[in-house]
C-alpha cells in the first residue's frame, strides 16, 4: 500500500504541473498539444546543464539538481515561444503547430544529445547522466497509518510542485492577470476592448506553460530513469492533456485526474507484483489508468465545456 502511494504521487505530481501548464495555455485560448515536446525539451536543457556544469559543483552538491530544475523551466519556456510564435505570430493552426513542435523536439533533442556527447565529451551515448534526486521522509508524520505514506520517502520536487500549483491556482483565479488570461480564452474581443493586449497575454501564458512542462519533464527524467534520454518522451504530455480536459480546464479536478493516473498506475504494478504474475501482466495492468479515464469521461464529460475561443486565432476585426 505504501509503495502505491509513494510511487503514485511521484508520478502524479510532475504530471499535474505539466497539466497546469496546459491549463494556462488553453485557458488563454491557445490549444497546446505541444506539452510532450515542451517537457522533453525542458528536460533536455536541464540534462545538458547537468552534463556541462555538474562537475563544477562538486560531487555531493545538491545545488546543481535544483538549478537544473530552473534551467529546465527556462528551456521549456524558450521552446514554448516557438509554439506561440507559430500560433500567434504566424497564425498557424494550433493543433498542427503542437504536433510539429513535438516532432521537432524529439528530433532535435535526440540529435543534439548524441552530437554533444560525441563532440564535447567524446563518448558515443544518447543520454545525459543525472544524479539521484534526494528523497526525504518527514519524521513523526510518516508514522500515521496509511496516510503516513504521503510523507514517507518522497522526492523533494513533490512539495516544490505542490507549492507551485498553489501559486498557479492563486494567479489564475485570484489575480487581475489571471482574470485577463482566462478572459482571453473566452472572449478575447472583450479583453481587447478593455485595453489589454490579447496576443501578449497569450504569449506569456504559453511561455509559462512551457516553463511548467519543462519542470515536469525534468522531474520525470530524474524519477524514472535518472538520465535524460528519449525515454522522457513516454506520452506524459498527452496524458496531461487528457487530465486537463478531464478536469474541465480547472485546477482541482485536474489534480484529481492526475492522482487517478498516478495511483492506478502504481496500483496496477503492485497488483501484478502482489499476485506474483509474470511481468508481461504488467502490460495488461498498465491499461487500467486509460480504461478508467475513458469510463469516467463517458460519465462525466457531458457538461465539459472548453474555453470558448480555444484554438481560434485572435482576429481583431471579428465581432
Amino acid at each position: 500500500m505504501n509503495t502505491v502511494i509513494i510511487d503514485g504521487l511521484s508520478y502524479a505530481l510532475p504530471l499535474l504541473i505539466i497539466a497546469i501548464g496546459g491549463i494556462y495555455s488553453e485557458r488563454s485560448g491557445i490549444t497546446n498539444l505541444a506539452l510532450e515536446g515542451l517537457l522533453g525539451f525542458g528536460a533536455f536543457t536541464g540534462g545538458l546543464f547537468v552534463a556541462l556544469f555538474g562537475s563544477m559543483f562538486g560531487n555531493n552538491s545538491q545545488a546543481v539538481i535544483y538549478l537544473s530544475l530552473l534551467v529546465a523551466m527556462v528551456g521549456g519556456a524558450v521552446f514554448a515561444m516557438l509554439h506561440s510564435l507559430l500560433c500567434i505570430g504566424f497564425s498557424a493552426n494550433q493543433v498542427i503547430s503542437g504536433v510539429v513542435i513535438n516532432i521537432v523536439s524529439l528530433a532535435l533533442t535526440g540529435f543534439l544529445t548524441s552530437q554533444i556527447n560525441s563532440s564535447l565529451f567524446g563518448k558515443p551515448s544518447d543520454k545525459f547522466m543525472l544524479s539521484v534526486f534526494p528523497r526525504i521522509t518527514v519524521p513523526g508524520l510518516s508514522k500515521i497509518p496509511v496516510l503516513g505514506a504521503v510523507f514517507t520517502n518522497f522526492y523533494v520536487f513533490e512539495p516544490i510542485i505542490l507549492v507551485l500549483v498553489l501559486v498557479c491556482w492563486y494567479i489564475l483565479y485570484r489575480t487581475r492577470y489571471g482574470m485577463h488570461l482566462r478572459a482571453c480564452g473566452d472572449n478575447p474581443q472583450a479583453v481587447d476592448t478593455a485595453g489589454i493586449d490579447v496576443n501578449k497575454t497569450r504569449f506569456g501564458a504559453v511561455a509559462f506553460s512551457g516553463a511548467l512542462s519543462g519542470l515536469g519533464g525534468m522531474c520525470f527524467a530524474y524519477s524514472i530513469s535518472g538520465t535524460f534520454s528519449a525515454s522522457v518522451y513516454m506520452g506524459a504530455g498527452y496524458l496531461a492533456i487528457a487530465a486537463l480536459i478531464f478536469g474541465n480546464w480547472n485546477t482541482i479536478p485536474t489534480f484529481v485526474a492526475c492522482l487517478i493516473f498516478g495511483f492506478a498506475r502504481s496500483g496496477a504494478y503492485e497488483l501484478v507484483k502482489g499476485l506474483k504474475l509474470s511481468s508481461s501482466f504488467c502490460d495488461l495492468a498498465m491499461t487500467l489508468p486509460y480504461i478508467l479515464t475513458l469510463l469516467l469521461l463517458i460519465f462525466f464529460s457531458k457538461n465539459n465545456r472548453a474555453p470558448r475561443a480555444l484554438g481560434e486565432i485572435y482576429d481583431k476585426s471579428k465581432r
Partner: protein, 381 residues
C-alpha cells in the same frame, strides 16, 4: 507598421508567383527554407551539406550509388522506398480525411497497431493460400481500423469526449493489450517480436527477380495511389464529401443547412480509421513481417505532419509522403557515407514541417505584399 512595409521589398511575392501557383510554390519554398536551415546545422557539424543531401537521394533510390552489391541496384532501393511509402500514404490520407471534417485523428498509430495485430493473428499465422490470405488481410485491416476509428467518433458524438483524448487513451490501451498478447503467446524468442507472418499473407512480395535484381514489390502501392485520387474525387465531387467538408469548416452552419453533424463526424472518423487500418496491415504485414511489442509506430504520428505538408489534399499528400519517406529511407545510407548522424533525417522532417506550418503566414505575407504592390503601383502611375 505601414512604414516598415513600404521599406520591405516584396521579393517573396515575385518569387512565389501568382495565386494560381501558390499551392505548389509555397510548399516548395517551405522545403527550401528547411533545407537551408539543415544545411547550416550540417555545416556546423563540419560536413558538406550538398554531399549529405546527395547521399540522402542515393540511399532512397533516386540517384545511383557509387557501388552496389549483387542483386542490388538503384531500382531495388527505389522499390524499398515505395514499400515504406505505402503505409505512410494510407496513414496520411487517414489524417487528412478526419482533418477535412474538422477532427484530429491522433490515434492513427493505435488503429494501425490494432489492424496489424488482428490481421496477424487471424490470417498471418494460417495456412491460407496467397490468393485468399492477402485480400483477407486487407479486409481485416479495414474492419479493425474502421471499428477503432468509429469508436472515437461515437465517443465524441454521444458522450462529448474530445477526440484527441479518447484517441490517445485508445492508443495506450491497444499498445499495452497487444504487447501483453504478443509477449505471452506470439513472441519469437530470438527477435523478441511477434513471430513472422507467412509469406502468403504478406502484402509485400520479397526477392522478386527482375533482370539481374532481386527486389521487394509492395502490392498495395498502386491501390494506395488510386485511393488517393478516389478520395479527392469523393471530397470534391460527391454530396457526402461536401457535407463532410462543410462540417469541418463550420459545424453550426452545416447544422443550419440540415447536415447531420454528428453522423458525419462518426463517418469521417470511421473512414479515417479504415485508412489507418490499411496503413497498419501494409506496415506490419508488408514493410515489416512482425510486430514489436510495447511500441506504437512513429509513422502514425509522422503521418499527421505529412498530411499537413500536403495541405490535407489527397494528391498533395502523395508528394509529401514521397518526400518524407525518401528522407527517412535515405538517412541510413547518408549516416554511413557522410558521417552525419542518422537523427538528422528526423530533424530534416521536423524542419520541413515547422516551415510548412508557417505556410499560411507565408501565403498571407505574399498576398499582402503583392496586393500592396499593385496599390502602390497604381498610385505612382
Amino acid at each position: 507598421m505601414k512604414n516598415e512595409q513600404q521599406k520591405k521589398p516584396n521579393f517573396l511575392a515575385a518569387i512565389l508567383g501568382s495565386k494560381r501557383w501558390q499551392f505548389i510554390t509555397i510548399p516548395l519554398f517551405a522545403i527550401l527554407c528547411s533545407l537551408l536551415a539543415i544545411s547550416v546545422i550540417i555545416l556546423l557539424v563540419g560536413k558538406n551539406p550538398l554531399v549529405a543531401f546527395q547521399s540522402l537521394l542515393e540511399g532512397s533510390g533516386f540517384l545511383p550509388k557509387a557501388s552496389y552489391s549483387t542483386y542490388k541496384g538503384m531500382i531495388t532501393d527505389f522499390m524499398d522506398t515505395l514499400d515504406a511509402l505505402t503505409p505512410m500514404l494510407f496513414a496520411a490520407l487517414a489524417v487528412a480525411v478526419a482533418f477535412k471534417a474538422g477532427l484530429f485523428n491522433i490515434g492513427v498509430s493505435g488503429q494501425m497497431l490494432l489492424a496489424g495485430f488482428l490481421a496477424t493473428v487471424l490470417v498471418g499465422y494460417s495456412d491460407l493460400p496467397a490468393g485468399l490470405a492477402k485480400p483477407l488481410v486487407l479486409l481485416v485491416g479495414i474492419a479493425a481500423g474502421a471499428c477503432a476509428g468509429g469508436l472515437i467518433g461515437i465517443l465524441k458524438y454521444r458522450f462529448n469526449i474530445n477526440e484527441v483524448v479518447s484517441a490517445i487513451m485508445l492508443n495506450y490501451i491497444f499498445q499495452y493489450i497487444i504487447s501483453f498478447f504478443i509477449n505471452t503467446r506470439l513472441v519469437d524468442p530470438v527477435s523478441r517480436q511477434s513471430r513472422n507472418v507467412s509469406e502468403a499473407a504478406r502484402l509485400t512480395l520479397m526477392n522478386v527477380e527482375a533482370g539481374s535484381f532481386k527486389m521487394r514489390v509492395p502490392i498495395c502501392i498502386l491501390p494506395a495511389l488510386l485511393l488517393a485520387v478516389a478520395l479527392q474525387v469523393f471530397l470534391a465531387k460527391t454530396k457526402q464529401g461536401y457535407e463532410l467538408k462543410a462540417v469541418g469548416l463550420n459545424p453550426l452552419a452545416a447544422r443550419y443547412a440540415g447536415i447531420k453533424v454528428g453522423g458525419n463526424m462518426v463517418f469521417a472518423l470511421t473512414l479515417s480509421g479504415a485508412l489507418a487500418g490499411l496503413a497498419g496491415v501494409t506496415y506490419y504485414l508488408g514493410y515489416y513481417q512482425s510486430i514489436q511489442p510495447g511500441t506504437l509506430s512513429s509513422l502514425g504520428f509522422d503521418s499527421i505532419a505529412v498530411s499537413l505538408l500536403g495541405n490535407s489534399h489527397p494528391i498533395g499528400i502523395i508528394f509529401s509522403s514521397l518526400l518524407i519517406t525518401a528522407i527517412s529511407r535515405g538517412s541510413t545510407y547518408m549516416s554511413s557515407t557522410v558521417g552525419v548522424r542518422q537523427e538528422i533525417a528526423s530533424l530534416v522532417t521536423g524542419m520541413i514541417l515547422l516551415f510548412s506550418a508557417c505556410s499560411g503566414y507565408i501565403r498571407w505575407r505574399v498576398n499582402k505584399s503583392g496586393g500592396f504592390k499593385r496599390k502602390r503601383g497604381g498610385k505612382q502611375a
